[in-house]
């Protein structure tokens, strides 16, 4: 990042949420980089940036789309890079029809299910092969990876999650002149033609001169010897089309040639110490370690179907080795019981029937379908969208286990939640058993965190945990031991997985489970041959025949040579800026993914300034500052036989080695369940009518129409005026997420002691709000109170001629009695509408009203919310219809695209 010539921070408040990471921005700036911050609010990041553009929350696709249009129309893209390294030249199937022609939906949309049949998005093929398998199911494998993959991985358009969508083979048709009307390049050009600076001014509220300022900064700082870097965070992901926000940036960065190059890429700034690790080795429903999919009933019923769905043997890249990764994982889990004959106990794996994300689970709890709930280092009562639904759901459980340092709100909901105060709940009537286990913290246990750039760092245990406090490692291992103990005589087949599971780990001198042994299992071993018992050096050593183990193939190599490389601690000042000897990054310690793209097709650096990885013709190998993310001896001139697949099929100029065609995807033929190219839709709740299409909201989004999850009217729908303002939620430097690790600490609490809302002087004037006094914010779900902070950092925007006021709400506070500071939770205002790709809720934008004074107490609070609902005529249907009305002929055209699928 320090190598960037221009840094565009959008959908992130980096200086506030990642202050220490921001030092690299400061350093780039010192070297002369332009720093541009695009955010609804003027934040501490804006204060240091050269430019701040106030954007209406949720309109990022318009701005980025306009930038795409700008560089395409004015030929400002990096031509050589685009032609060689992206799928710009690839032709798209004749069946594909764009949103521009179907008024807001792509071809293959099924209004009944609200999902797409993606086969019409496929590449055109030389020989007639059948279209790919149908797209990922809702929340399919792409889910975990979407939010999990960081930076270049995602930036490279690698959206296919668990290797997600295979292409049957790489026999695509390319037109290197980019002139063919069905070439991705032309398709893209047409798609974004209507995304103009004027549109940006009208929809985002960013004046045209400022748009040009941003566009010029981007284009002047991209190309052979300059690179621009994007940084984003939850400001992009927490939308009903969040994944598409990131895709848009990825397309733009590919066009500008900023992928796989130093100072380029798209940097995902993530909020938890090991959030990257917890998606690589997922505590997520839809994937297994290494982004292998969880088996889906009907799609993955057999081992063969499962493997086939991940990759086809003829496609390019390392995903074709999925059988080895899967076999090694199953061997690691089920040990001797896993044999080639029983498909390594593949049938031991439970099957998905759809999305089983946290919000689906919560709704299942409300229907009493869930009995027990583990809450581990998380505080859903405060930190999750629709806090009320979260808390009510817990009262439906038989038991809940909370593991944390302090008595967080999720552990005390039964005695001091807002619902107790409002009389909706009575402590005596709540039958949930609550177990609170004190947790050990990072200095009381050893293990690895994976930080946001995929680097594993070992943290050493400094002291023993106090009292009953335990690490999760210890707790879950012990729980497993006792469960197995209870089942040891069971003859029930369903208990076999638990009994066959490898669960014997060495203990350290304090009698606690040895984390290093677990990491070794994750790395994997050779089981047979002369190397039997040795740790694997690289995932390429994995075999599909069960002769190797490995709990997470992308982590294989962390123990290369039997040494725990996550413990590497060579001081930064003793090595170059790539710092390969500090920690270990997956895959294979590569710091910049797809870094083959930092050299031109012939393997020469694009420029001396941006030298990173290049082809050493004499040594016949790739060399440079980083570990080449490419077959190290693959000659740039190499062209594979179209009939082979896998790593061998990677051409010398196919930098994006995890992509089925080795190219960066400007157009995603697979993987994005709500469209191959991002289109702008308004947020679930928005004061604005979508002028681009009659389709107001993302047709692929997930909505859950229920009485306890209402949506206020949008745009010019009647009653929209009752909730006239836009609110957006965010973090502050001084606190951490739901506050479990900050609101209990006096030194942090005193810095931001009270829940507040940020409003512009104009809005304050209009609503009679006074700085420092109280205000009540009302949404269709709930009402909260907050101190008023009147500040010019909030700017009213002129959108399509109307003034739109935005209100900023930090979400760190919760109602309880144990913390040093408490306050109403902003997340209580939110409803549940999810991005279809990644199941992430829309929490960055909603509609509300704001009024002076404190909120009513007790039942009066409920009255207030109901009064607003009835006044706005909000019903369960409001905002929940998938598609908006269109002319009959459009409807027919849409249907036609679906039927063609049917015929095939």
């Amino acid at each position: 990042m320090a190598n960037a010539d221009c840094i565009i921070i959008q959908g992130s408040n980096m200086a506030e949420c990642h202050p220490v990471g921001f030092q690299w921005v400061a350093e780039a700036k010192a070297r002369g980089a332009r720093v541009i911050h695009i955010d609804p609010r003027f934040t501490r990041t804006s204060a240091i940036a050269d430019t701040h553009a106030a954007i209406r929350a949720g309109t990022d696709v318009v701005l980025l789309g306009a930038l795409i249009n700008h560089v395409l129309a004015k030929d400002l893209y990096f031509h050589d890079y685009v032609v060689a390294y992206t799928n710009a030249a690839t032709l798209v199937s004749e069946d594909f029809v764009d949103t521009e022609d179907l008024d807001g939906v792509f071809s293959g949309y099924d209004p009944e299910t609200g999902t797409y049949d993606m086969s019409s998005w496929a590449y055109d093929e030389r020989k007639d092969g059948e279209g790919g398998t149908s797209g990922d199911d809702v929340g399919g494998p792409s889910g975990g990876h979407e939010h999990g993959a960081s930076k270049s991985a995602r930036a490279a358009g690698d959206q296919h999650g668990a290797a997600g969508p295979p292409l049957e083979h790489a026999r695509v048709i390319r037109d290197e002149t980019l002139q063919h009307p069905r070439s991705v390049f032309q398709v893209l050009k047409r798609h974004y033609a209507r995304y103009t600076p004027q549109m940006v001014e009208d929809l985002c509220g960013i004046p045209q001169w400022q748009f040009h300022q941003i566009a010029d900064a981007l284009t002047q700082n991209s190309g052979r010897d300059r690179t621009t870097c994007f940084a984003y965070a939850l400001g992009w992901t927490q939308h009903s089309l969040g994944a598409q926000f990131i895709r848009t940036a990825a397309i733009l960065q590919l066009l500008m040639g900023n992928m796989g190059r130093p100072g380029g890429g798209i940097m995902a700034l993530r909020g938890h110490a090991s959030i990257q690790g917890s998606t690589d080795i997922p505590t997520l429903f839809n994937i297994l370690p290494g982004y292998l999919p969880m088996p889906m009933v009907g799609k993955h019923d057999t081992y063969e179907e499962y493997l086939a769905s991940i990759s086809s043997p003829l496609q390019k890249g390392f995903w074709t080795e999925a059988p080895s990764y899967t076999a090694s994982l199953l061997k690691a889990w089920f040990g001797d019981a896993a044999t080639p004959d029983n498909n390594f106990c593949y049938d031991y794996l439970p099957r998905l029937t759809g999305a089983h994300g946290t919000y689906q689970s919560v709704m299942a709890m409300l229907d009493d379908e869930v009995e027990g709930y583990f809450v581990i280092g998380q505080n859903p009562a405060v930190g999750s969208a629709h806090g009320k639904m979260q808390r009510l759901a817990m009262t439906h459980l038989k038991w809940v286990v909370v593991r944390d340092f302090q008595l967080i709100e999720s552990a005390t909901f039964w005695k001091d939640s807002p619902e107790i105060a409002s009389g909706e709940l009575k402590t005596e009537d709540i039958d949930t058993e609550v177990f609170f286990f004190p947790a050990a913290n990072h200095v009381e246990k050893s293990g690895t965190f994976t930080q946001t750039q995929r680097m594993l760092q070992w943290h050493h245990q400094a002291v023993q945990p106090p009292g009953d406090a335990q690490s999760e490692l210890e707790f879950f291992h012990e729980l497993g031991v006792r469960i197995r103990e209870r089942l040891k005589d069971s003859t029930d087949e369903r208990d076999r997985p638990l009994l066959d599971m490898t669960w014997d780990y060495p203990k350290d001198e304090h009698g606690e489970t040895d984390a290093e042994a677990v990491l070794a299992e994750i790395n994997g071993y050779h089981l047979t041959g002369d190397k039997a018992g040795q740790l694997l050096d690289k995932f390429a050593d994995m075999k599909p025949d069960g002769s190797t183990t490995g709990g997470c193939w992308i982590y294989t190599g962390v123990f290369a040579g039997g040494v725990n490389k996550s413990k590497n601690r060579m001081p930064g000042h003793e090595q170059d800026e790539t710092a390969l000897d500090w920690g270990w990054a997956w895959p294979m310690n590569r710091r910049v993914l797809y870094n083959r793209a930092s050299a031109d097709p012939e393997g020469r650096p694009w420029s001396e300034r941006k030298k990173y990885v290049w082809w050493d013709a004499d040594a016949k190998k790739w060399v440079g500052k980083d570990v080449p993310d490419f077959p190290v001896d693959r000659d740039p001139a190499f062209r594979p036989d179209a009939d082979i697949g896998g790593p061998a099929a990677i051409a010398g100029d196919d930098p994006f080695i995890m992509q089925a065609d080795g190219k960066g995807w400007l157009f995603a033929p697979k993987g994005m369940v709500d469209g191959p190219m991002p289109s702008h839709y308004e947020a679930q709740e928005s004061p604005v009518d979508n002028p681009l299409y009659s389709q107001q909201r993302n047709p692929g989004r997930l909505v859950y129409p229920r009485k306890d999850n209402l949506w206020s009217p949008s745009g010019d729908e009647p009653g929209a005026g009752v909730y006239p303002f836009v609110f957006t939620t965010y973090r502050l430097t001084e606190h951490h997420t739901a506050g479990g690790m900050s609101r209990w600490l006096p030194y942090l609490s005193e810095l931001q002691p009270e829940m507040f809302c940020e409003v512009s002087p104009e809005l304050a004037e209009q609503q009679g709000l006074v700085n420092g006094e109280w205000a009540t914010i009302v949404s269709a779900r709930s009402a909260i109170e907050a101190r008023v902070l009147v500040t010019e950092r909030m700017t009213p925007l002129t959108i399509m001629g109307n003034t739109v006021h935005q209100i900023g709400l930090p979400y760190h506070w919760g109602v309880g009695r144990d913390a040093v500071v408490e306050g109403d939770g902003a997340n209580d205002l939110l409803g549940i509408a999810l991005d279809p790709n990644v199941q992430i809720q829309e929490s960055k934008v909603g509609s509300c009203d704001i009024r002076p004074g404190r909120r009513p107490r007790g039942e009066e609070l409920l009255r207030l919310v109901e009064e607003y609902q009835s006044r706005s005529g909000t019903t369960v249907e409001t905002g929940s219809q998938r598609v908006d009305d269109v002319s009959s002929q459009i409807r027919e055209r849409r249907a036609a695209t679906l039927e063609t699928e049917g015929d095939r």
Partner: protein, 190 residues
């Protein structure tokens, strides 16, 4: 070295006259405590390299331990990620570790109860194990309506993991999956 403060010769007034510090600003007025000043960072028994537990930047931390108690946590200058710097949260890590309000006992709240009660860790894990198996059995699904194999339980859900070690997430996913529990989520989706 100046004489002991307690002695007559240690009387700063005399030291003022004796030393060049006639106005009593520096050398002549220091107390013994001042002259023998120590720093927690130098008296620590050991220093352990760690990683900040808050956000995902992964800043290096040095943990200073004395008598098996953490006495100081500060940035690790060796880290190429953070170069010894920490944000307010990272800088408050010591308070996170030694917080007076931190819970160190297992607490149990019975159905309908208005208070937590303390129970033994061992007993608590047993209770959870029993309930785990019961919930697993109660909501077990062997096949779906089309008779296709599911072999899963909907009785158990889990939330959290992004604040945990990779090794911990690995064991959790392994145990849950082997048990047939699928409703597993963490902050990555919040």
């Amino acid at each position: 070295m100046a004489p002991k403060d307690s002695t007559f010769l240690g009387w700063p007034v005399l030291r003022q006259l004796a030393s060049g510090d006639f106005l009593g600003r520096g050398t002549s007025v220091t107390s013994r405590k001042t002259r023998e000043v120590e720093a927690r960072t130098t008296t620590a028994d050991r220093v352990v390299q760690s990683v900040c537990p808050y956000c995902a930047v992964g800043c290096g931390q040095k943990v200073f331990v004395k008598d098996d108690k953490v006495v100081q946590i500060e940035g690790d200058p060796d880290s190429p990620v953070s170069r010894g710097r920490l944000c307010p949260k990272g800088a408050a890590s010591e308070q996170l570790v030694n917080s007076p309000s931190r819970q160190t006992h297992v607490l149990y709240r019975a159905p309908g109860a208005t208070q937590f009660q303390r129970i033994e860790l061992d007993e608590a894990i047993d209770m959870v194990a029993d309930r785990y198996l019961e919930a697993r059995a109660n909501k077990w699904q062997e096949v779906d309506d089309k008779g296709r194999r599911l072999r899963r339980t909907m009785g158990i859900a889990s939330l959290g993991g992004a604040t945990l070690d990779n090794e911990e997430n690995y064991l959790m996913k392994k145990l849950y999956t082997a048990s047939g529990a699928i409703q597993i989520e963490n902050q990555a989706r919040i």
